[in-house]
Symmetry: C2
Subunit: 240 residues, 2 copies
């Protein structure tokens, strides 16, 4: 149905002990090679300083042979997106990011370019949240209010980036991540893929695969959970 | 200006090692004695099972000599609120709670009863979030979407309940609580009071005081922070 779709959804842009995007270098290079991507259009809206954020991404990707341009520097956003080889939507605050995408009226355009025209989409953290059906499972503080929590819908389920296992001996009485995700499942009866830091979801057409060095935890619509190992085939989620 | 106002805003309903509300018993008893409260109207909407939640609160308060009734059992919510001696708004999910208050059209009524008629308001966690000007500083997952993040506005600033100091040696790359609250301050230029578990804010008329056994951390509008000790006078925040 979405034969053109090509996504790489990262849990996080950093992993403890390594540089920005370094843990995902192999995943990015493989994807960009397959799609013949030389220039990446960066979407910096999840953080306040767009120039600085774009430079951070450029400093990471340029040594690997990729040009990086900032969407915010383009006089015509729609044209820049339409002509892009690939976009990378960086993390920060999910509410701020989605608010900005709606404000700039880019949601429908990006959805169409990715699902129908095969625009390669890389997202990290907040950029992964907005790629899914909704931002209901972000970890971020709701510092901005988008017109709706419905997002790009590039995949029909939810993801929780930076998924964190409950701390066994915590004395804190706030909810654990598992309790928060169970709240979501209880209200929505829909699955959430918990992506631990260092893992990514690759979606090529109707095939989805877990990448990285750790398991992912799926919170199923029926309230149960199941762990998946690296390289696991998660294509069934695309039919959810 | 709000001479009638009488609030007790708890960071959490539980403290590690003690029973439900036990850590705040002295604070509740002092407030209820001063206001001659015998029956508490409980607002259970932040959790899905309203009967069970009301029973939990009844089991805690009844041994101390208070009757507890559930707002959800009342055929006429407005009448029940108007006749109440005190309301207790329990924690759970802040987005679910605020959505329900708007759905039932209770936001304006509760605001008016508390600010103009002196209805005693006790909130815990999500119940504390909705008492403030907005829910932008909740820790909860946005599992439901209220029509607006603006809340009861019983105080003109924001509170972060369950405030948690950053873990020094964490390898997790998601934002710390301080980073999240700094994001809010950067976007809104407004103060947030970080209430650690075990602490509460008492507001009587135009006087605000920190209660409990730990400090509170104020994130000021200018981006700096300051710690306040138990019993500190925080009345200046009511003018923010
Ligand atoms: Ca974030
Ligand atoms: Ca909560």
């Amino acid at each position: 149905m979405c034969a053109a779709r090509s996504l790489l959804l990262l849990s996080s842009s950093r992993l403890h002990g390594s540089n920005y995007l370094e843990h995902a270098r192999g995943q990015l290079e493989e994807l960009f090679r397959a799609k013949n991507v030389k220039t990446v259009l960066f979407v910096p809206y999840a953080l306040p300083d767009h120039d600085k954020y774009t430079q951070l991404v450029r400093d990471a990707l340029q040594p690997w042979g990729y040009n990086v341009e900032g969407l915010h520097t383009k006089p015509n956003h729609s044209l820049a997106l339409t002509e892009a080889q690939a976009i990378f939507v960086g993390g920060g605050n999910t509410f701020v990011l989605l608010s900005k995408l709606y404000e700039l009226q880019l949601v429908d355009l990006i959805r169409q370019l990715v699902l129908e025209r095969g625009l390669t989409y890389v997202g990290s953290s907040a950029g992964t949240n907005v790629a899914t059906r909704s931002i209901h499972t972000t970890n971020d503080m709701p510092v901005a209010q988008p017109p709706t929590f419905e997002a790009l819908g590039l995949v029909p389920f939810n993801i929780n980036p930076h998924y964190l296992d409950p701390e066994l001996n915590s004395q804190h009485k706030g909810e654990t991540r598992d309790e928060r995700l169970s709240e979501f499942v209880a209200y929505h009866k829909r699955p959430v893929l918990g992506l631990r830091e260092g893992t990514s979801l690759s979606v090529q057409g109707d095939q989805a695969k877990l990448l990285g060095c750790r398991n992912a935890k799926l919170f199923k619509a029926d309230g149960t959970t199941v762990e998946y190992e690296p390289e696991a085939d998660l294509s069934f989620l695309l039919k959810s």
